[in-house]
């Protein structure tokens, strides 16, 4: 390739287009990448669509077309109730999570509350820890026989909360979604032109009024986006419905699907397919509406005047009370549940009726480490995250480069498709991929291997990688590409030799985020795992399902420990810092 280049460059004329090299190579690569992305997502969605119009299971050769599934879905009280519950949970949790997240973001980014960096770090940690771990921790601490519950009952005579209600569950879901709002709003708040708020002060507005009338409306794009992500997160939540919904006699769509994976009466594949299609349609409508709301965001790019440092708002005598509120909130929401989880892992069982010091044991851990099944599940999780994360990073890097740095005619559409998996709940993606594997013969060797998990996770977490890489690529001056092209490099060479090397820090960030995302996935694995390809989350749910909370907590502790070690290692060796 290069020999040809220099030979034709020796003359005064630049290499003619199409001469002396494969002109189609660039397009071929771009099409191949686009095709991979489309295939990945189709693998999850097409089988679901197909099954929804089949009268028998997708693998059953006697299948035939029917619209009866949709009719039966329209009449199914059980499914309607479950879907309604999911939407109620998602709505309330979005409101709660957004309010908390925005308040935290404002306090950390715009005031002089003491210890902001610590609070910011503590608020971000739940993003990298699986919801399952948090939910188990909440159960241990605030469940009906929870530690804190018993303490409060002893002190007050009653307990002001009940996690076995939809309100309680929504509050928990909201707390778990607050960190996402936090991180999205903080970025926006830091970029906010401080003269906006200064102007409001100079015309006489008191601080709270400025927050309400000026600050929040200006960061509205970030707010709307985070609300949508939180809403979808609430819909796809599996851990809280499983752990708290059952005793509350509340069925949610995800827990209903989960029960279908395990026990339950004869499953009706077609009906489930129809329900899932409906669910996805509603989510897609939300995504489109949100896109439309944000299209008018042009008016929010304000022209900056003098470069001025954003001045933190002085809380004055409110410094200490606000700090206290923040820290106490973080303590009760995240620190205590994690502490409870860790404690539970080291005791035979945890009950307020007996002191835990009498019950200390290594049993839970020896159970896990002496069983090849569970050791394998830990190993699988790490391998999938490390190896699968790397594969996903490479794929996403190439796809992002196609979207931002090429003249591929369907760039915008490719971006929409690459971001669509945000709208697919994890357990539904797993179900779809399972049906794909059952249906298409040449895919069947993948069933029960970790490869199918890597495929499913890659598809689900495309938006995560894209979100990390996209801003980095956008910041690289396009002239760098153009100069490479002008000296004769084609698009593919330019990407490999110029763009991607410059974007190295972005690639590391993407890898770290993808590792963490893969590591904490479990919902998508529900339908896809088999003996030999279990992962930590699935094993945790199995233990929980049979009531073995100790080993479940032990697995949670192991997962948490590996996560922390990885984050520290990433900071030290890859230079990737995870903070707001």
């Amino acid at each position: 390739m290069s020999a040809t280049l220099s030979a034709s460059d020796r003359g005064s004329a630049p290499p003619a287009r199409g001469a002396a090299r494969l002109p189609a190579r660039d397009r071929l690569i771009q099409f191949a990448l686009a095709a991979i992305v489309v295939l990945l997502i189709a693998t999850a969605l097409v089988p679901v669509l197909y099954q929804s119009v089949l009268a028998a299971p997708i693998y059953d050769l006697t299948r035939h077309f029917t619209l009866g599934n949709y009719l039966r879905f329209a009449k199914s009280q059980e499914l309607h109730a479950a879907i309604a519950n999911s939407f109620i949970l998602a709505t309330v949790s979005t409101l709660v999570g957004t309010a908390i997240g925005v308040l935290f973001a404002v306090v950390v980014a715009r005031t002089n509350m003491p210890g902001r960096r610590i609070a910011s770090g503590a608020m971000l940690l739940p993003l990298y820890v699986s919801h399952l771990i948090l939910s188990v921790g909440w159960f241990i601490m605030y469940g009906p026989a929870g530690y804190i519950t018993e303490l409060v009952r002893g002190a007050l005579g009653f307990v002001p909360w009940n996690l076995y209600t939809i309100v309680g569950m929504s509050a928990l879901a909201g707390i778990s979604s607050a960190p996402l709002t936090f991180i999205l709003c903080i970025g926006s708040l830091r970029l906010l032109d401080p003269s906006m708020e200064d102007a409001a002060r100079s015309v006489g507005a008191p601080p709270l009024r400025i927050l309400w009338s000026v600050t929040l409306p200006i960061i509205r794009p970030a707010l709307v986006y985070s609300m949508m992500l939180n809403f979808i997160g609430g819909l796809e939540m599996l851990s809280i419905p499983l752990i708290f919904g059952r005793p509350a006699r509340l069925q949610f769509f995800t827990s209903l699907l989960y029960s279908f994976a395990g026990t339950g009466t004869v499953p009706d594949y077609g009906l489930i397919g129809a329900a899932v299609v409906f669910f996805l349609l509603v989510i897609t409508v939300f995504v489109i509406v949100q896109g439309m709301l944000l299209r008018k965001a042009a008016r929010f790019t304000a022209i900056r005047g003098k470069a001025s440092r954003p001045k933190p708002f002085d809380l004055g005598r409110w410094r200490v009370p606000v700090a206290a509120a923040v820290y106490i909130g973080l303590l009760f929401a995240f620190a205590l549940p994690l502490a409870g989880l860790i404690l539970r892992a080291f005791v035979e069982f945890l009950t307020p009726l007996m002191s835990p010091w009498q019950l200390l044991t290594w049993d839970n851990f020896t159970l896990i480490f002496s069983s090849p099944t569970y050791v394998r599940s830990i190993r699988n999780s790490i391998v999938i995250a490390a190896f699968g994360g790397a594969i996903a990073t490479v794929l996403i890097a190439l796809v992002t480069v196609v979207i931002h740095r090429s003249d591929f005619p369907w760039r915008r559409q490719l971006e929409f498709i690459a971001l669509y998996p945000r709208a697919i709940p994890g357990i539904i993606a797993g179900l779809g991929v399972l049906w794909a594997v059952l249906w298409i013969p040449f895919l069947s060797p993948l069933l029960g291997t970790i490869w199918i998990l890597i495929i499913a996770f890659t598809m689900l977490d495309l938006p995560v990688g894209y979100g990390a890489l996209s801003p980095v690529l956008l910041q690289i001056d396009a002239d760098l590409d153009r100069s490479a092209r002008s000296v004769g490099a084609d698009w593919w060479t330019t990407c490999r030799r110029v763009v991607l090397p410059i974007a190295k820090t972005g690639l590391f960030s993407a890898y770290v985020l993808l590792f963490l995302a893969f590591f904490k996935e479990y919902a998508a694995a529900t339908f896809l795992y088999a003996h030999g390809s279990e992962i930590i989350g699935i094993s945790m749910l199995e233990f929980w399902g049979i009531g073995e909370v100790g080993p479940a907590a032990a697995l949670g502790v192991i997962q948490f420990a590996v996560t922390c070690v990885f984050i520290l290692a990433a900071q030290k060796w890859l230079g990737v810092k995870l903070h707001a």
């Binding site: 026990t263 035979e348 069982f349 007996m354 069947s444």
Partner: protein, 365 residues
């Protein structure tokens, strides 16, 4: 797992080893030829897949004993729930995967459906000659264990005088103070899976609804025995009925837990599950499967099953050979007429919707 073995179990391993020595000699005749053939063929098979609703913890002991006799067979025993075991088999074998070679499940309706689809291989097990007729309801379907559903209670929340030893006693306790026990009693959720359905259906069918009607309003149903036991331990529940004995026995070995929970057979009628074992028609490792089936039904196998926390029923297994219960010891303790076997009754399938409708009303769901 070694620390979990009590002295009683340790004593048992010696007779077990002796038993292996006895049975290691090959039986004569046609059965012997079949066995030799199976042994040879099993060496060429890749692995033995068992789908079950028996816990992984329980399986480890049984598989270890099996491997003492047949060390070359690699066993993968999955605990995936009564319905899922069959569903997975249907889906995977249809697409040509190596699915279950043996199914061990306590789920009468699922077995009936399985047999109805013609998926059961009609194996004639040599050991079956030693077993009672009721444990071999269909050609190829045998019984793995007979597991009782028992009462479990929290010893700190219920003083000795209140600790129930019969269902009637528990019902009386609940009726005496409804406020105290509301949502503090637990049992299986009959709508959750066939195992739970079979338990409640059988009890209602044999003993009637009177006690269930009293207990229903106070009960909060759960999906799994493990959850029931865990929550009785933490005090979320005061007591549970129809709790799986299998799950309870292994947990009482944790010495500290012993201080907190106690259990009892239901003196006025204990449900006993016949946990079915069979070989699917589309099994891949058929020789290994047959060897396992024979082992499970043999004296040595039944003892291993007993050590694992399940309840053996083979008549020549004495109660001092296993750490917990045998079918015989249950009958001896509460009387033959109070043993309520859960059988393969087609009416369970046909009656299902009507039964569940009434059940949901009683349990407020």
């Amino acid at each position: 797992m070694s620390h979990r073995i009590t002295r009683r179990q340790a004593c048992c391993t010696i007779p077990v080893a002796a038993a292996f020595a006895l049975h290691a000699s090959r039986p004569a005749g046609a059965a012997g030829a079949q066995l030799a053939d199976d042994i040879e063929r099993s060496k060429k098979e890749s692995r033995l897949e068992i789908y079950s609703n028996v816990g992984t913890l329980n399986w480890e002991i049984i598989v270890k004993a099996f491997n003492t006799q047949y060390p070359w067979i690699r066993v993968e025993a999955l605990d995936i729930g009564p319905e899922e075991a069959f569903e997975r088999y249907y889906a995977e074998s249809a697409s040509g995967h190596h699915s279950a070679d043996v199914i061990v499940a306590a789920s009468p309706t699922s077995w009936l459906r399985f047999i109805g689809k013609g998926e059961l291989m009609p194996v004639a097990a040599a050991e079956a000659a030693q077993l009672p007729a009721w444990s071999k309801p269909y050609p190829g379907l045998y019984t793995f264990s007979t597991d009782p559903l028992i009462l479990v209670y929290n010893k700190l929340l219920l003083p000795v005088s209140e600790q129930p030893h019969s269902l009637a006693q528990l019902a009386q306790l609940v009726a005496s103070d409804p406020g105290r026990f509301r949502d503090r009693i637990t049992t299986y959720d009959a709508t959750a899976h066939p195992f739970a359905l079979a338990a409640h259906w059988t009890y209602a069918h044999v003993r009637g609804w009177s006690l269930l009607d009293v207990l229903g309003p106070a009960t909060r149903p759960e999906d799994a025995s493990g959850s029931m036991i865990e929550k009785i331990t933490t005090g979320e529940y005061s007591a549970g009925y129809f709790v799986s004995g299998t799950s309870t026995f292994v947990r009482t070995l944790q010495t500290a837990r012993d201080k907190l929970i106690g259990w009892s057979l239901m003196r006025d009628g204990t449900l006993v599950f016949a946990r079915g074992i069979g070989i699917p028609k589309r099994a891949v490792s058929t020789a290994s499967a047959r060897l396992f089936l024979e082992f499970a039904l043999s004296h040595a196998g039944q003892i291993a099953i007993g050590q694992a926390g399940l309840t053996p029923y083979r008549p020549d297994v004495k109660s001092n050979e296993v750490p917990y219960l045998t079918y015989g010891s249950i009958a001896a303790e509460i009387g033959d007429k109070n043993v309520i076997p859960i059988l393969y009754d087609r009416a369970m399938v046909t009656d299902q919707n009507a039964f569940l409708a009434r059940w949901k009303k009683v349990y407020g769901m």
